[in-house]
């Protein structure tokens, strides 16, 4: 990885502009969770002209549906889910000032374009490393859509939450560059 950087949320445009693909970032502060069903509800609210239950300005949304917390733990296993299912909703939230998304897997060109235009980044967490990632989540609290169970929006307090920059604000893509570097086809 090119650089190791620590960042604390909320993020500014300057914070994300200095990031490059392949950078290893350790996040601190508050991040929000949201996946398929929660995203649908957020966008429905925007379409109806209503206020969102969370302010996404400067924030990061982590695409995760954690497993249930065991007694004494803030959260269960909590690795990323595949991001493309949120592609239909992400540009709208980026436009509203969301600065980052955490997930795994490729993004649609519209999302990458929105990141360039409105200055946001896509960060990868290690898929399938849910037990390890949970160690950097210190608190978890449901803030919206409790009825969605694992898909409810949670406010997470994280310490040194490890991610890798996959798409930066310049339109670069680690998936493309990484495969190009090691391809022997």
């Amino acid at each position: 990885m090119s650089n190791k950087i620590e960042l604390t949320t909320p993020l500014s445009t300057e914070d994300v502009e200095k990031l490059n693909i392949g950078d290893k970032v350790f996040l601190n502060g508050i991040i929000y969770t949201g996946r398929d069903a929660a995203h649908k509800r957020l966008i429905d609210l925007l379409n109806e002209g209503k206020e969102l239950p969370i302010d996404v300005q400067g924030q990061i949304i982590y695409y995760v549906g954690p497993s249930p917390a065991k007694p004494g733990n803030p959260i269960g296993s909590a690795g990323p889910t595949t991001s493309y299912r949120m592609d239909a909703y992400a540009p709208r939230l980026i436009e509203l000032g969301m600065k980052g998304m955490i997930g795994k897997g490729n993004r649609a060109p519209e999302v990458i374009e929105a990141m360039k235009k409105y200055k946001a980044v896509y960060l990868g967490a290690t898929g399938g490393a849910g037990a390890l990632i949970a160690k950097s989540i210190k608190k978890a609290e449901i803030v919206a859509y409790e009825d969605l169970g694992p898909e409810a929006i949670r406010k997470l307090e994280v310490e040194n939450f490890p991610v890798v920059v996959i798409n930066d604000t310049k339109g670069n893509d680690l998936y493309v560059e990484g495969a190009r570097k090691y391809s022997k086809e």
Binding site: M1, T82, L132
Partner: protein
């Protein structure tokens, strides 16, 4: 099932009833005003076990085994997969790939130590069950017993419930219904294999009805392309199950069954084994690497299962499995 004639008062006669394979012996007892008819034993009628009492297995035992298997499978990654992680850490040329593989190894260690799930996606509950034909299941409905085991495992093991209605997306709440593939086999045992299957990798799977003319080369190309197109989505390094032959649905089942093999196990047919190795090599030249960050470890193994098919067809299914290749089995 009951051809039992009405018996005289308080009779304790044993009455036999013949079905195709089994002789059932029933006892009628009078309890207050109700006649109760209950089977007291059953015997195999045919084959070498003729006349021998069938082995009885209670549904409670099945429930307990299913419960434990799903917790075990979700928290304890197989030694074969861990060994494949070590190989990747040693051999992958990419420093980032090595780092990711070390994280996955550490994740598996934490999960095992704390009995917590390896991945938050603890899957739909898929089971392969081999039911011995000389087993007599008592105590209730076989399918209900399995679903109860899934319910208990996912509730008591703090596993995520991921089953939902396809359209309303309403969660069923307890990860049932289980997906049960049942096969009747000789013997008096039940083998249960629990395969929690996550959604991310499953979404990258495909069935294709190929033209027979494309042959084995067409099969190889399709599998490699599927992995290429899946890119980083299914959490590489993946395990690729390939089902070839049968019918449309049979190929998919074969592909899923292929995932039960241990990393490094080759198909007994040397030609097919060679094809597996060739496809694995081609996949690992794609450069996708662990998590798609670039590297030489895109898949840990490729398993082909082959069966005869129709003269007009060449069914092919590719079932993609993430690196959390989870499956555990037990024999009752």
């Amino acid at each position: 099932m009951f051809l039992h004639a009405n018996n005289a008062n308080n009779c304790l006669d044993n009455v036999t009833h013949f079905t195709l394979e089994v002789i059932w012996v029933f006892k009628t007892t009078k309890i207050s005003d109700n006649m109760v008819i209950a089977p007291v034993c059953s015997m195999a009628k045919t084959g070498k076990d003729r006349g021998k009492a069938m082995r009885e297995i209670h549904t409670d035992e099945i429930t307990k085994v299913v419960r434990d298997l799903f917790i075990d499978a979700n928290c304890n990654l197989g030694e074969d997969v861990l060994a494949a992680f070590d190989t990747a850490i040693e051999k992958d040329e990419s420093p980032v790939a090595k780092e990711v593989m070390k994280e996955l190894k550490e994740n598996a260690r934490i999960a095992r130590e704390e009995n917590s799930p390896i991945c938050q996606d603890t899957g739909l509950a898929v089971l392969f069950v081999e039911l011995g034909q000389d087993v007599h299941i008592i105590g209730g409905n076989f399918k209900d017993a399995i679903n109860e085991g899934v319910r208990q495992g996912y509730m008591e093991g703090y596993l995520r419930k991921s089953a939902c209605d396809p359209f309303s997306r309403k969660n069923t709440g307890d990860n049932t219904p289980a997906i049960i593939h049942l096969e009747i086999v000789p013997g008096e045992k039940i083998k249960i294999m629990a395969v929690p299957k996550g959604g991310g990798a499953e979404n990258m799977s495909r069935v294709n009805m190929l033209t027979p003319a494309v042959g084995i080369d067409g099969v190889k190309d399709f599998v490699v392309n599927r992995v290429k197109e899946s890119g980083s989505n299914p959490c590489p390094p993946t395990v690729i199950g390939v089902g070839i032959g049968g019918t449309f649905e049979r190929s998919a089942l074969l592909a899923k069954k292929a995932l039960l093999r241990k990393i490094g196990d080759r198909n007994p047919d040397p030609d097919i084994a060679k094809a597996e190795e060739e496809v694995l090599e081609r996949i690992n030249k794609l450069g996708i690497g662990p998590m798609g960050y670039g590297g030489n470890t895109t898949s840990l193994d490729v398993f082909f299962e082959v069966e005869p098919c129709h003269i007009a067809s060449l069914p092919l299914a590719v079932n993609v499995q993430c690196h959390a290749s989870r499956h555990k089995e037990a024999i009752i």
